[in-house]
Symmetry: C2
Subunit: 213 residues, 2 copies
């Protein structure tokens, strides 16, 4: 399961494009995973968007992850759910979800990462690695040293999210990230497919350069 | 399963009392079911409140229902989930929930009630039967004639919610409701236990008077 480039959809900065449209363009550019995140939609509308993205990601062989709402993820047939530190606890989600269902967890320290992995997280995401304008509540960034420490401490894929774009994706990969999650660098781009394509190339180059695949 | 008096907790009008405190007082007065409804809490905080109410309702032999969030309901070991018309669709929830899990649905017409029952709803709630100040989005009331028509049309328990208190609970039961759901009449009372007790007596009297039990 590759998490090289993981795109979080956001209609608020999507230049009028819907979650599904953003997902379709991102998958066309080679996004490995799409996360649907929307705290403003009703559950019914979120589920409708999830069904659309499920179709897009299945067709494009990308993973589909729903933020926070495990019930919506299960109802839409998503591959997994992403849980923040104020979302459903991992152990509760693991009890409800079927075997093989992906559960990713946002973490802010080595301790949180180790705890998540001990609880069965399939991946962890350091959030935010840099400060960002996309999530009002994300605070300032934890930085690359924390990222590298988490990478050394746990055995599951480690993603980084927050303030990542073309200018710094190489150093994030070099610091040890298995992949990067992006919002504004892709969703806010005029050409989403091209933005994904460019980031994917930079990630591949950084992995090659570091002797990683 | 009795739904005579079904109390929806609401901290916004609860005079500083928490969901769990409101639930404890309501169960002490004889509430048959407690619904936890809060669209403002984080999922983690909602789950914490749900765990507290689960303990209170189990001790008092009352049903515990969570509004909207099936995942939280399952994680807290609630008896069921209540779904509005913009929440998870009934058929999706039914597929995710284990056998015997209660699913109630808000309806606004005979057609919606019949559709919900055909889809496996365990109860339906006409919402709102009267206009109300507790839910900003509830609109004006559907009235007792619609309530009576739903009662004639379906086989599951029919509740009414919205603007119900001591002054009109008798006519709601007389119109055919199997039970009433209340928010402000209980949650907004200075003495929650006494308010529940009083409503229970009025419901019992109305059922006796109508030759119903």
């Amino acid at each position: 399961m590759a998490y090289d480039l993981y795109v979080v959809t956001d209609e608020a900065i999507g230049r009028g494009r819907t979650h599904a449209e953003l997902a379709r363009s991102a998958v066309a550019g080679g996004a490995d995973a799409i996360q649907l995140r929307d705290k403003t939609l009703s559950c019914r509308d979120l589920l409708a968007a999830a069904h659309e993205i499920r179709a897009v990601t299945s067709a494009g062989d990308a993973l589909f992850i729903v933020n926070d709402r495990l019930d919506v993820a299960l109802a839409a047939g998503a591959d997994g759910v992403h849980l923040g530190q104020s979302d459903l606890p991992l152990e509760s989600a693991r009890r409800i979800a079927p075997p093989g269902f992906i559960i990713g967890v946002s973490v802010g320290s080595v301790e949180e990462a180790a705890f998540a992995v001990a609880g069965g997280a399939d991946y962890v995401a350091l959030s935010p690695v840099f400060s960002t304008g996309s999530k009002e509540d994300a605070g300032s960034g934890y930085g690359l040293a924390v990222l590298a420490a988490i990478r050394s401490a746990v055995s599951v894929p480690v993603l980084a999210i927050g303030g990542i774009g073309c200018h710094n994706v190489g150093e994030v990969i070099a610091a040890g990230a298995d992949g990067v999650a992006v919002i504004s660098a892709v969703v806010g781009a005029s050409d989403v497919t091209a933005a994904v394509c460019g980031l994917k190339s930079l990630i591949a180059a950084a992995k090659e350069g570091g002797g990683r695949r």
